[in-house]
Every structure is written in structure tokens, then in C-alpha cells.
Symmetry: C2
Subunit: 361 residues, 2 copies
Amino acid sequence: MASIKDVAAAAGVSVATVSRVLNDHPSVSADARTRVMTAVAALGYRPNAVARSLRTDQTRTLGLVISDVLNPYFTELARSVEEEARALGYSVIIGNADERPDLQDHHVRTLLDRRIDGLLVSPTDGGSPLMLDAARAGTPMVFVDRWIRGVDVPVVRADGQGAVRELVAHLHRLGHRRLAIIAGPAATTTGSERVEAFRAALAEYGLALPDAYTGQGDFQADSGRRVTEGFLDLPEPPEVIFAADNLMALGALDAIRARRLRVPDDVALAAFDDIPWFPHTDPPITAIAQPTGELGRAAVRALVDRIEGRTPTSVTLPARLVVRRSCGESSLAPTRSPQSCPTQAPVQPVPTQSPVQRSTS
Amino acid sequence: MASIKDVAAAAGVSVATVSRVLNDHPSVSADARTRVMTAVAALGYRPNAVARSLRTDQTRTLGLVISDVLNPYFTELARSVEEEARALGYSVIIGNADERPDLQDHHVRTLLDRRIDGLLVSPTDGGSPLMLDAARAGTPMVFVDRWIRGVDVPVVRADGQGAVRELVAHLHRLGHRRLAIIAGPAATTTGSERVEAFRAALAEYGLALPDAYTGQGDFQADSGRRVTEGFLDLPEPPEVIFAADNLMALGALDAIRARRLRVPDDVALAAFDDIPWFPHTDPPITAIAQPTGELGRAAVRALVDRIEGRTPTSVTLPARLVVRRSCGESSLAPTRSPQSCPTQAPVQPVPTQSPVQRSTS
DNA sequence: CTGAAAGCGCTTACAG
DNA sequence: CTGAAAGCGCTTACAG
């Protein structure tokens, strides 16, 4: 592969001059510039990004460590992150933690070794020493979706509290009183916050959230299946199961189907995170939708601000409830007729409660 | 951040010695080794992968350019690729082409600039000059899923011919005669091969595939929606719509739902690629499943073989039909009762036709 | 077993 | 405007 030396030789200039035209440095004669451009084209020369990074101490690369690539929520997040990063002149390297702290650390370490300019993380756990050290050592970092308390790192996330209250109101209106939740790992913020929001909303209706109705999942499908089986084995099974993410809802559906039970007649089901398939499941699933694309973009902007010396801003955007049929027929709805549910614009009967919130971390 | 010089100074040895212990070179005294290890631990030193890559001319990194991250098929492929690569000591950088040739080229270029050791590609088009040049220039490369004719690059893919024949047999048995397909871009192999397999299978039953029943999609949901609307507007709409991938099937479902039509009563639907949601849609969707994980692993093995000087092998694995209810009730099935459809092991009434096939490219 | 030195492919003050 | 030279952080023959 041609190097800068080859180009310099072909153009009859020094490597310094080649470097200058490649980097659009102003002080280069028009003549030198054209000769270099010609040589570059003739040789099909492409600068070695590795060498450039070593010299400039910047890689123009962002690391993104997500909890699970098989989760459509994170996949959509990753897509918007890459898009925004590209618009700002950065590449992104994705690491998939698969909800495993050890794998998460593996990726953080690898990314750090590659000297990425900044790190976007959705932590799988309460914070590994590695990540905390990196943050303290001054690695530009931003948390997306999930975060870790007590670390001075900006957070970009959705607030689901309002939407969870609306969900509980919806369920209560439909006559449901025995509500259960499949929670995510307590060590993650989304794992604990969603349970707490649910518990608080139930309390407003004088309803308790007994331990038997609080199943411990890990955000993956299998755990949703397992926890649901436990719920259904109870002497008094819940009337509603609220899965704290879409994959556990998938697992719950599997378990319910396996017992030949019907949703919502035998058990109602709702999920956190909306995905394109939810309007099409049998029945369509009521879900809490996050502004995923906007979160990804805001996270990149915050990280790039941090990298380029500006002050990064934490961002919290509201999630919203999308009512479908999996919790029962709303008395407001006319009759049980097939609904039109285009993927891009899900039905949204309940208005978004609060405007975009921005707060400085 | 500490460099190798700092470690050498702290340990009282030369940087050469530090490098040797870091790389497990045999000729280092036990004493020197322990002093270096101690210094490394004390400083929290981590070798700079950028510098190492520049010096050794290898990055231990594979590039993976996939057609669309939002497509669960590619997401599963990416996961298995990363897993196998990690097992073999490589990292992988994913580039998402979003079915756009220009974006694909952007990622190939970026990856090449970073001097990845090898490239795994599922081409979005018939082959950009950039990619063809890279292949000719000797960049280690392997095609996964989709490929390009006339280039000497190993291919790892699934053969769907047998499964498509089984699908058509299934449809014919159910009494369907007007069958339509939503095809992918003709410039991609999977875009054209699936149509041809479908056409050939229809011919065996004396059925034609008229132009009006051949819709041009781009493997993304919107195109499935658009093409389906066209089909439904026909004076004589098809009885079955076969979507050449899962996202176009999602779009088709949207379009069908929007018209308040029912699957399979008004139109039957089948898809290429099986995904965890298909058992749960309304109705569960009949699909052709690829051995995705195995494809990803085989592709990595082929690429690493190529990189490390061994002879890479092309691999073709059979796809298989998974019958569900979206094409109508099979006369074999007892009654319309809810089925048990665990995500992990979809119902597979039709036996896999051929054993694993391996052929050298 | 160990160190001094060269060199990977760039960028960038420094002189001219 | 241009080039010679230093240096980014490593690895690896080469000598000893």
C-alpha cells in the first residue's frame, strides 16, 4: 500500500508538503497542490489512519458499549448514535455486552486500548472499577439510557415515571388490581427505577406490589419466560404482567402461549420500550415508548462537546404510553375491530405529559 | 496516560525488556519480569494499541459491513461474528450500510483507512469499484449472505432453494394459485436468487409469476408496505404475498392491517428469514429460517484462515421452512387452537432436506 | 538475558 | 511557500 513517501516522490515534493495538502493547510502553492493531488489519484493513496492517530493523539472515533445487540431498542440507539457521529466527523465502534459485566469490561478495555476519543456507555451493572477508573482518569464519557450514581459523567436518558403512571391509570381503569412486574437487574438504573415508578404509581391507587409479584429478570427473553412461569404458578396469579423491557415481554408471551393462555383474557401484558413488532403481535402490545433516536443523537452531541472542550449537558426526555390491546379493551374504544397500526406512527391516545426537559448535570 | 517509557523507568529496565515481557518473549529473566509486572500494575499501564498496530502492521481487527442494523437477521449475524472473532483473538468494527451503496462505500473506505486485517461484507449492490479494487489489491475479504459474482472472494451463505420449493408446495397444497413476491434489489444476490427460486418452484406446478406479481422492494419495511399496496390495488390481487426478507414482511403487515384485511383469510403472507417475533405476530408467520449464527461463525473462520495464511473455504448451508399459520390452516393440522411456539425452537414440521453442504470456492 | 537503535507513517513547530 | 528533523509509542533484529 502506497505511503506518504511514495506520494512525495511521485509529486517531487517533501512529505511535509504532501501532508499539508492532505490536511488543507493554507500555505501550499497551487502548483504543489495539483502535483500532489495528481500523485494521490495515480497511486490510489489513502492516508494511514493508524499513523495519523498515533501522531495526533486523536482517533476521531467514539466507543459505544451497549447492553445487548439483540434488543431492538439498543439497535435503534446504535443506529442513531452512528448517524449523528458521522455527521460530526466521527466513527463509532460498537461493543456488545450481552448484559454481562465481564463482557462489558472486555469491550471498555479494548476500546480504551485503541485510544478512542470518547466513550458512550449503557452500563450493565452498578459500575465496574474499570469504568469508574476510566471516568476518574478523565476519559471523556457519557452515559446513555442507564447510568451510575456518584460518578461525574453526563447522563442522557428517558424519564419513564409519567408514562408508568399513565399505564397504571389505564390498567386500573380496566379493572385490574393484581399487577406484577418483571424487573431488570437491580444494579442497573433502569432495572430499579422502573420497579420504583411502578410501585409508586400503584400506591396512588392504594395498591401494593407484593414480593411475589416482583420477578427478577435480566432484560433478556429467557428471564421473562422464567419469571412469567413463576407468576402463573402462583395460587393467585397476577392479572397483569408488566415487563421492564421488550425482550422480557417476548419471553413472557412465550410462556403464556406455552400454557395455552390468552392475552389479555387470561393475563394482560404491557412492556417498557416500544418496537416495530408490537403493533403486530397477537394481541398488539401496550408499551412505553422512548424517544430512542433523539437520545442517541443527544448522547453523541454531549460526548463530542466534552471531547472538543465544550461543556456537555445531561438530557432527560419523557417517555410516553402507547395503548394497544394487550391489557384489555378500553371502555372508550368502540368495538373490538382490527386497528390500523402503521409501524412508523404508533397509536398514541394518551397525550405526552411534559415537554422536553433539559437539565445540566 | 503512562507509556512504555514510564514503565521502563519505574522497573529500571529498557523499553525493549518491557516490550518483551508484555509479549511473553521467552528470553527475559524472572527478576526483570517481576519488576516489569510490578511497574505495570503500579502505573495501571495499558499498551497503546495504535502504536502497536503501526509497528506490527496488524490491527487484530475485522471489519464487518452489514446491509441494515435494524434488520434482526443482520443483528444476529453481527453478534455471532463478534463472538467467534473474539474467540479467535480479534475485535470487530461494524459498519451499517442501511441498504445504501454510498454508505457502504463510506464504511469500507473508513475500515480500510484503519487498516483492519480483513473485511466481511454483505454487499448492498452489485459491487462498487472501491470494493472490487480492495479485493483485487489483496485485502483479505469474505462475503457473507450476499455476494458478488466474478470476484475471487470466498462466500459464506445459505441456500434457500429447497426451502422455497417446500414453501411453494405448502402454498399449493392449501389451494393458493395466485402467488406474488416482494423482491429485494436485483443487484443483490439475495434480491435476485429468491425471486428465481420462487419462479422456478412455481413453474413446477405449472404456475407463472407475472410481472404484476413481482414487486420491487429494497429489503426495508417501507418498500414492503408500498409494494403490498400495489398488489392489493390490482383488479385481481394475489392470494399470497411472499416477502423476501423479514422487514418487508413487517411493511406488508402494516399495509394489510391499514386496509382492515385479515391474514390469511384475505391474503396469505410468508417471509424469508425467521425472527423471534414471528411466532407471536397475528397470525404467526410462516418463514424460511437461515442458520444465521453458524453462517457468522463460518464467515469469521474463513476470513481468519485467509488472514493467517491458510486456505479459506466457501460454505453454503441449507435454509429450512418453518410453517405457521399465516398462509392458512394446513389440512394436516387438527383445529385452530393456540400453538406453543417457544422462541428458541420454532415449530418445524417439514424436515430439513439436505445435510450441511461445504464446497471449496 | 539485555539494551541501543532503527523504523512503522504520519504531523508540525522551526528555519529559511 | 517549503523542507529537514523530531517525535508519537511501540517492536525487533542486531550486538554484546
